[in-house]
Amino acid sequence: MTMIFGVPMAVFMGQLTLGLVNGAFYALLSLGLAVIFGLLKIVNFAHGAQYMLGAFAALLGFRYLGINYWLALVLVPLVIGGLGMLVERFLLRRIAHLDHLYGLLLTFGLALIFEGTLVNLFGVSGARYATPEILQGGLNLGFMFLPTYRAWVLVAALTMCLFTWFMIERTRLGAYLRAGTENSQLMQAFGVNVPLMITLTYGFGVGLAAFAGVLAAPLYPVSPTMGSSLLIVVFAVVVIGGMGSILGAILTGLGMGIIEGLTKVYYPEAANTVIFLVMILVLMLRPAGLFGKEA
């Protein structure tokens, strides 16, 4: 069969496809992070944990309340997002005026708390979450067998990304948010209720993470540590894309998925590292990331 760079065409295509799927995941997660950082300048270290909470909420909701996948896809982001708002309202707001580092520290602390608690409650070996019937089985793309669910993840994630991008880059609300984060005092002097806006935004960002969590539940074992391993990669994605650039986060997410996918074929040992290599190269050439505005 035809070979590309020394691997069978089929495998190559397969890797591209899978890369795209994972990419969509990164995109969704880094999007939430970008929204929160870009708009609130909060380095949300709890993002991984909130993603994990999303997955757990779906799992437990199913176990104890019989909430099915589709319902979870809607409810969980709302619930966890709501939780996020509480966090913002009662914790983050109190340190908003301080150096952003403190936000990082606080969310990091929260991450430890969430994770540690769940570890003690459920252990770490991770539980399974059944794939909904409709999405079971797979599609034969000719060059590979693609589980239907992964195809769905791709679609769902991208839709969500585009929606968010539009909300923030193309609407008046978005403009308020961007301005509010730059000089909230002045925005208030214009009559905008900035605190409320910030709470909602944080909630939304967290909601995105939770949404990703629910999407992930059927893919990976649902375990308290599922988030922390992902967090740092997602950070890298946001940075490469250019902090606060929504579009950057999305495109970079997809791109990194693909690059990582190919690395897994040509130099698998470096699969977890390649993204950092990319990050260094990018920041060497474009100090504010691929899509970031230079200050």
Partner: protein, 386 residues
């Protein structure tokens, strides 16, 4: 008794339980292991020749230096006589170095690396439950014999994975199979889809998992999502434990072949103990948790018999006695510190076959103690003359 008393340091037998209490291996040993240890002490009567048995426990958080420091402090500050548990190989190796330096004693139950009693062996620790050699051997041999003669290996890219990979490769080739391909994935990896795809591309009959813990779990999950088994390939888990299978569910793991040192349901003795354990913990014991009980019990008996908790004497005494309890059959402690005992080839039941949450394995055959482990003739251990 007072004479015997004299030889028990500070008139207490002090045992330190060091394990990953909160991380990846929590369910393998963790708090359950501590319970098993306490059961052993209780069953033994709580004291040796009138000297009470005291337990300290700590979480090594899978970090070599946390582990080593904890043990160093136990020895410096509390004169701990024996350290039990010991899971992550990196921690174990670090700890055993400390034990050797301070001439103390360690009973390793959790670690997988066969190097623990090979290049890293010391006169101060005993490796109790299992190691990679029999796991790889048992499984690989059996699989090849059943016709699975072409292999693709998914290897965790670190020392331990490499060792496992080497073991398997030699066994597979020795028994007439061949390795048609493989990939070394970073440790840890959460998404295996790409590797599974490569495995599918390789056309090998068997996909061997030369990794552990979460990696194995993730690999198996992904494999089932990509219909690996449907497409005629079979998985061989080289290092998979009861808690993994339990977590993964039979749907994903059915028919998986694996080698184990013990299974709670393997006979009446085992069942009887496991029921008691279940009462306390609410989960069935893993082989590691059972091994912790077994090794502790053997240790206490030796202390009693020797009338002292002096490590060297106790170590010798333990080696004297063959081990035959609910856990180990035909067990004996070799000079390299390896406790060899019968191992078992098991197959994961299908959901249909399974009668309960914990009814997971079917034992296919027994691998005799003397064949199971790496022969001393191949040993690089400094304690072995050859």
């Amino acid at each position: 008794a007072s004479t015997a008393h004299a030889d028990i340091s500070d008139n207490e037998v002090r045992i330190g339980y060091l394990a990953d209490m909160s991380g990846t291996y929590r369910d393998l040993a963790g708090p359950g292991g501590l319970t098993a240890l306490e059961m052993a002490i209780a069953d033994f009567g709580g004291s040796v020749n009138g000297s009470p048995i005291v337990v300290f426990s700590a979480d090594d958080r899978n970090s070599a230096d946390v582990g080593a420091n904890t043990v160093r402090e136990w020895i410096d500050q509390r004169n701990v006589d024996m350290v039990a548990g010991l899971v992550a190989s990196s921690v174990t190796i670090a700890v055993t170095k400390v034990l050797e330096e301070n001439n103390s004693l360690g009973l390793v139950s959790g670690s997988a690396a066969s190097s623990v009693t090979n290049e890293h062996c010391t006169p101060n620790h005993i490796h109790w439950v299992y190691d990679t050699y029999p796991l790889a051997n048992g499984t690989a041999k059996a699989v090849v014999e059943q016709g699975g003669d072409s292999w693709f290996l998914l290897t965790a890219d670190y020392a331990f994975g490499h060792a496992l990979e080497a073991d398997v490769t030699s066994v597979v080739e020795a028994s007439g199979g061949e390795i048609v391909g493989g990939v070394r994935h970073p440790f840890p990896t959460s998404d295996f889809s790409s590797y599974i795809l490569q495995a599918q591309g390789s056309g090998a009959k068997i996909v061997g998992l030369a990794n552990a813990g979460a990696d194995t779990v993730n690999a198996i999950t992904t494999a089932s999502q990509f219909g690996l088994t449907q497409s005629g390939q079979q998985l061989a888990g080289l290092l998979i434990f009861l808690n993994d299978v339990h977590a993964l569910g039979l749907e994903a793991t059915q028919n998986l072949l694996l080698t184990t040192g013990w299974y709670w349901d393997m006979d009446d003795q085992a069942r009887e103990w496991s029921e008691r354990y279940f009462e306390k913990v609410g989960r069935m014991p893993t082989m590691v948790q059972a091994g912790i009980y077994s090794s502790t019990m053997h240790y206490l008996k030796a202390v009693e018999a020797a009338g002292t908790d002096d490590p060297e004497i106790v170590r010798a005494q333990m080696a004297e006695e063959p081990i035959n309890d609910f856990f180990a059959r035909n067990g004996r402690i070799r000079e390299d510190g390896r406790m060899v005992h019968d191992m078992y080839l098991a197959q994961v039941k299908t959901p249909e076959e399974s009668t309960g949450e914990w009814d997971l394995y079917e034992i296919l055959s027994t691998i005799p103690a003397e064949e199971a482990y790496r022969p001393l003739s191949e040993s690089q251990c400094k304690l072995v003359q050859n």
